[in-house]
Symmetry: C2
Subunit: 323 residues, 2 copies
């Protein structure tokens, strides 16, 4: 079974391009080092080093493994340092899971506000899709989730912060892109459609596919990709159209966007947390979100968003009634 020791050893060998010298750096003798590398190669079932050459060289697989091993070792060190810091300073940690699109909405300024108002907490940000957020909340891996899918888990409470209108991304210089006016969902019938994320299901892709189906807009072809970046890249490459939340328009300016019109052509932004989690930071986050919404940031443009009235009244208790 693979082991961090083997990674450290391999990195030393790859860096030095010499077993003897690497063994020296590691403060061990050369034969055990040779053996550990052999074990590693055996475990992977792939040779990493070309030995019949002086100085030794890495195979293609070895080069890849070297690069990745460096990253993993760096990550482990970060992890140790972060854990020690939190453990020794008795700092609190607030772990926030979020879907990528919230990066183009209020998340950055929320995090900034949170750091200002609670400098003593360690804020951990983890990108994860909506369905991953529920188990992550229950296991305590995150404390707060910002997602885009409604759920009904009895142990997790969700609160709709806003409903964001959807836009369709269209390749420039096509018929649909001649107009900037809002477009009915039904008008997408017969188009090649690109959806994301491919997995895990159910996800935002299904939300989009449901929307199309409920408007009898059967696409000519559906292509699934892993991320919104890729999806928009494909739109730019004229591979089809793609439906995204309006705030994500910022990601690319080389495609054309049109607002979608029709029943359900929105996507909610949902804040979730554990039922009965009475950490003071949950309340603080809710208060900061209200504050932020009251400031009318550009991504909250009423042309593209609908904010449920309870989210803007002064009573935090009202939020909990959303589900």
């Amino acid at each position: 079974m693979m082991d961090l020791r083997q990674l450290r050893y391999f990195v030393a060998v790859a860096r030095e391009r010499n077993f003897t010298r690497a063994a020296h750096m590691l403060h061990i003798a050369q034969p055990p080092l040779s053996r550990q590398i052999q074990l590693l190669e055996e475990d992977l079932g792939v040779p990493l080093i070309i030995r019949k050459s002086r100085p030794i060289r890495l195979t293609e697989a070895g080069r890849l493994f070297y690069e990745q091993a460096l990253q993993v070792l760096g990550r482990v060190e970060q992890m140790q340092a972060a854990t020690r810091r939190v453990g020794l300073n008795q700092n609190s940690v607030v772990s926030i899971g979020f879907v990528a699109s919230t990066l183009y909405g209020g998340l950055p300024s929320l995090v900034r506000k949170l750091r200002q108002h609670a400098p003593e907490v360690d804020i951990q940000l983890l990108e994860m899709v909506s369905v991953q957020q529920i188990p992550a909340l229950k296991e305590g891996r995150i404390d707060i989730g910002f997602g885009r899918l409604r759920h009904s888990d009895p142990n997790v409470v969700g609160m709709v912060l806003r409903e964001e209108r959807l836009v369709v991304a269209i390749p420039k210089d096509t018929a649909l892109a001649e107009d900037a006016s809002p477009l009915a969902v039904a008008a997408l019938a017969g188009q090649k459609v690109i959806v994301y994320p491919k997995e895990p299901r159910p996800g935002y892709a299904d939300h989009v596919l449901n929307l199309l189906q409920s408007h009898d807009a059967r696409p000519a072809e559906v292509q699934e990709v892993r991320e919104i970046q890729t999806a928009l890249g494909l739109v730019a490459a004229e591979a089809g159209v793609c439906i995204i939340p309006s705030s994500a328009r910022q990601m690319r300016s080389d495609v054309h966007y049109r607002l979608l019109e029709g029943e359900g052509a929105t996507s909610p932004v949902i804040l979730s947390h554990r039922v009965g989690d009475n950490s003071r930071y949950i309340e603080l986050v809710k208060r900061l979100i209200e504050e932020m919404y009251a400031e009318n940031p550009p991504w909250l443009d009423p042309a593209y968003n609908f904010v449920p009235n309870h989210a803007s009244d002064g009573s935090p208790a009202a939020h909990l009634e959303t589900f």
Copy 2:
């Protein structure tokens, strides 16, 4: 010394919230499991688990460690899978290091083209700043670098693909933002300036600071941050102005941009590779870049870019003469 075994054991305990059950899952007896967790805590110098409670709970540090351990273990599996795939299929790997801003330029479509023209290669993308690309090239960790700083290492050849004009990001609703016309560099004297990245030096931050100095535009205050995202966030929060390559304008639309005018108010995009690396993929990449430039993509708008003539003539050999 920390060990992947300990991570796996800790993850099992954290997930099960029960040592005995976790030991079962791991196919070992409970006492060794307890001991490994103790060793782990000792190594970190931080308690991870609150045992005087049934079921056991994680400390704050433990929660953080759990989350990160999951990520590390996932990363290790990915690494094994990728290495096996490359090793067994004898696929080639082309490793590309790039600075973040090229993501807003031609990198995505170059990668797409490369995948189309050479589906048998594994393309690895690694974000790294310009100065990190030189050692990464020499150690073989990457084969191609897209950076923004000129260098003069005898073992690495660089080729200027284009000179991109710089723009200054200005908070909305300030005096400088009232106009959209080009701005002289000297006009930035006395402004609070935000630069990135903080490290490693020398980097793009120094390029910007040199530019200001050479135009006698002494800033009132310089703040260094780690990434362009943060820098633009601070601009949006009215903490100052920030100079970025024009293609990065797409990143945020809630700040105001003005083109910079003046000697040297550009930033090159430089392709680097090892001297004497005659992999056919290097040539392919150069050909694809030429092809791409010939298509006049939106990020190559001549209002914002200057392409050296040798990069658009038909002769690949000319490129090598750039340095």
